[in-house]
């Protein structure tokens, strides 16, 4: 089995590999992954990820298993539901819980980007296919949507039975779903909301936004169940919330451990873990929780020993997320002597508390989603970033500013102005595409990061901190 070494490296047991052999053979055949690709992937995993950590290795394994599940889902007789990223209202998770073993509900582009992008480095032809079919290049369109279209039209993943789309937050995601709906006749369920909050409203929420989103979540759930021939039952929401709660608690615990100086692990590994919540099916979710449960004591052990990828006292920054298509960006930052103990998307685990002032599950879900900030407003994103700066005692912000993501388009501009003026700490904006490394220059990025690292180190050596340093 030419893939056994890679899978073992990614936390699979020999017994599991043997049991899943026919599935793996078929999936890797469809994906065009032979012995050469496995060797390249092994090298990339060893070079890019912390393979001393079994938690990280298991997380890598969950991603690979997740891709195998999607590729084979049609032939295995499953109903298939795709949701686009970012997932709204937790609806994907609930549908996944509703159809355990029979419905596969995932965000396929995210899985493909990590497995065929970060691990195998074979994703570019899929993105190009998406560009040829629906989302032309050169127009700052999202690679995730290109991957969804490209993977379906190339026949790598099946045409789904249902699409869960959003008509707010991300215009492109909904547009891409509509494209698939029109071209392939796939039924779709659309969730709507309106990002019209005033600038300083957050952390308060307007009841109208919460109730509108809640009604959309509730309606989407009922509509989706009907299309899938299922009966919506609140127990599925509960089941999903139980497992999701364990996962979020694990992420919060990792955040807490990452406050240490030095932070015990590179953020490139932690993103792999954190994003498992957003993409994999409910059936794979217990494996994701197991990866987290394995990782936490490993991190605690490192904190006890005082070890990490960077020395104690290194400057500390946050970002929205580090481009995941290629682990090289996270390592470029660390090589410049900058630690990233937290990203916005991991920090939001703190904010996912349910509120008793709302009575229905849909209202609570809507409230949680909006409280996380991302789907609320750019000012909410600023609010949580400022909190993270305080919580993690950060020296700067190295904001990976996506060129492809319209909802996030102004985030770097806003953060730079507000954080530098209000907190007096430096903000560097790095123009990137999180999911597609064809569109930015590594060399130019390296120069910027190194200069920023030098500046932060100098500032820190002179006693500059985030508190009152302006």
């Amino acid at each position: 089995m030419y893939y056994a070494d890679l899978l073992k490296l990614c936390g699979w047991e020999e017994e599991q590999i043997a049991r899943e052999k026919p599935r793996l053979n078929e999936a890797f055949r469809i994906l065009g992954l032979g012995p050469d690709e496995m060797k390249i992937a092994e090298d990339r995993v060893k070079e890019g990820y912390d393979i001393d950590s079994m938690g990280v290795r298991k997380a890598l394994g969950v991603w690979i298993g997740g891709l195998v599940d999607v590729v084979l889902s049609k032939t295995e007789g499953k109903k298939i539901v795709y949701y686009s990223y970012p997932p709204l209202g937790g609806l994907g998770g609930r549908i996944s819980a509703m159809g355990k073993g029979e419905i596969l509900c995932v965000c396929p582009e995210f899985i493909i980007d990590i497995v065929l992008g970060a691990i195998f480095d074979t994703i570019d032809p899929i993105i190009e296919e998406g560009e040829d079919r629906a989302l032309p290049p050169g127009k700052a369109l999202c690679a995730l949507n290109k991957i969804r279209v490209g993977a379906i039209t190339k026949g790598i993943i099946p045409v789904p039975d249902l699409l869960l789309a959003s008509s707010y937050y991300c215009d492109q995601g909904g547009q891409t779903d509509e494209w698939l709906h029109e071209v392939y006749g796939v039924p779709w369920v659309v969730l709507d909301n309106v990002m019209d909050s005033v600038w300083d409203e957050f952390p308060n929420l307007t009841p109208e936004r919460v109730s509108y989103l809640a009604a959309e979540i509730e309606n989407g759930w009922i509509e989706a169940a009907e299309i899938l021939g299922r009966k919506p039952d609140e127990k599925h929401w509960g089941e999903y919330a139980g497992l999701y709660g364990r996962f979020v608690a694990g992420i919060a615990e990792i955040n807490s451990v990452m406050k240490a100086d030095p932070p015990p692990m590179s953020q490139s590994n932690l993103q792999l873990v954190r994003f498992l919540r957003n993409a994999t099916s409910y059936d794979r979710f217990p494996d994701a929780v197991e990866a987290i449960d394995t990782l936490i004591p490993e991190l605690a052990q490192r904190v006890k020993k005082g070890t990490g990828p960077l020395p104690k006292g290194s400057p500390r920054v946050t970002s929205f997320l580090i481009p995941q298509r290629d682990h090289i960006v996270a390592h470029l930052i660390e090589k410049a002597g900058i630690a990233i103990p937290v990203t916005f998307l991991s920090y939001d685990a703190y904010t996912g508390m349910l509120d008793s002032t709302y009575s229905t599950i849909a209202e609570k879900s809507a409230k949680t989603d909006l409280s996380r900030g991302l789907y609320h407003s750019t000012s909410a994103l600023l609010y949580w970033t400022k909190k993270a700066i305080e919580d993690f005692d950060l020296d700067g912000v190295l904001w990976s500013q996506p060129i492809h993501c319209r909802p996030m388009a102004s985030s770097g501009f806003v953060l730079k102005k507000a954080i530098e003026e209000e907190l007096g700490i430096p903000v560097l904006i790095l123009e990137v595409d999180w999911y597609d490394n064809r569109v930015f220059s590594g060399e130019s990025m390296k120069t910027k990061i190194e200069t920023f690292g030098y500046l932060l180190a100098l500032r820190k050596s002179k006693g500059g901190t985030n508190k009152g340093s302006k």
Binding site: R133, A134, L135, P136, K139, A140, L141, A165, S167, Y168, Y169, C170, D171, Q172, G174, Q175, T176, E178, W179, H181, E182, V183, V190, D192, N193, V194, M195, D196, V198, W199, E208, R209, Y212, A215, E216, S377, T378, S379, Q401, I403, H404, R406, P407, A409, S410, G412, F413, V414, K417, A418
Partner: protein, 379 residues
Amino acid sequence: MNALESLDIRLKNRARELDGLKAAGHKIIGYYPGGYVPEEIILSCGAIPVGLHRGGEHEPVLIAGAYLPRWIDTFCRSQIGFKILGGEPTYDLIDLFVVPVTDNNVRIMADAWELHHLGEIFKFGVPHRKTERAFQYYLNGIKTLREKIENCSGQRATEENLDEAIALCNRERELFRKISLMRKSRSLSLTGKDFVRLLHASLWVDKRVMVETLESLIREIESKEIQPRSGPRILLTGSTLAYGDGKIINLVEEAGGTAVIEHFAEGLRYYWDDVGLDGKPMEALAESYFQRRITPAWFRPSREMRDFLIKLAEEFSIDGVIWYSLMYRDSYTVQSTLFPKILKDATGLPTLVIESDYDVGEVGPLRTRIETFIEMIKG
């Protein structure tokens, strides 16, 4: 002096007129065009609505680069640029900027306006689906807008005032519709460029002046017969056709085509449908401005818009469609990859997709593409 010449004079004097009105205590309310701000609410409070719809110039886009990323719709960036540059009376005079939050481009432009303290702003949301709860959300939004304008102007929008404003705007809409439908004829003296000029003027001049102008113009058109035009008939559509962005329509007409109907954020969406006068005015406004409004590309689904375009193409005996998008307006960009095939399958008509960032360097290549498109249709 004909109606259009007379309108030009009114337009030239409008800034001074607005200055005078402002000095006399009237509030000038700027709004983001796109067909979702009911001007009737502003008028009923004794305030003066003006659409901020300047575009087509590269300098404001460049200037906006200090406040907004370049991956935002060109028109949205322009609004920040014109405000920063100054010298545009509309942008300088307004007491309040009303922004219906539709998609991320508009939201981010409004954020920049707020963050950089470019003036008082009021936002309200426009949902992206036509459902009962979306209708209620929009209705709630325009009710909050009414309160805001009332506070700003110091005058209540009574039902009587609202009905009066609706009747005035309905008259303007009716006249626009009448002229628009006249454009089905090949023997019409009015050019596409003239019609777009009228649409832009309607966002700026006094409503009563606009109604008088349109009435005079209709009388002039009806009294004048011209030889039928022979060139290809073009439907222009896309996200925004701003005041100052005349290149596409000029290039079409210079190449021997005639733009006979336009579907953009401003214009047709406003005049195609009247507001009912037999119920509660706020509900009637929400019905017309939201529930019955022809949808833009950012609506889900956007099929209603595509079906409407096909209907227009058939009813106006169109020979080809020009889809004119501005850079980074995602919804229109993605739709532009879907629409040409749908139109071709339904009508056999060709579509030319073009995109602009208001860059002067674009005109040469655009001329070549438009001339080729027109020649291809002629052939």
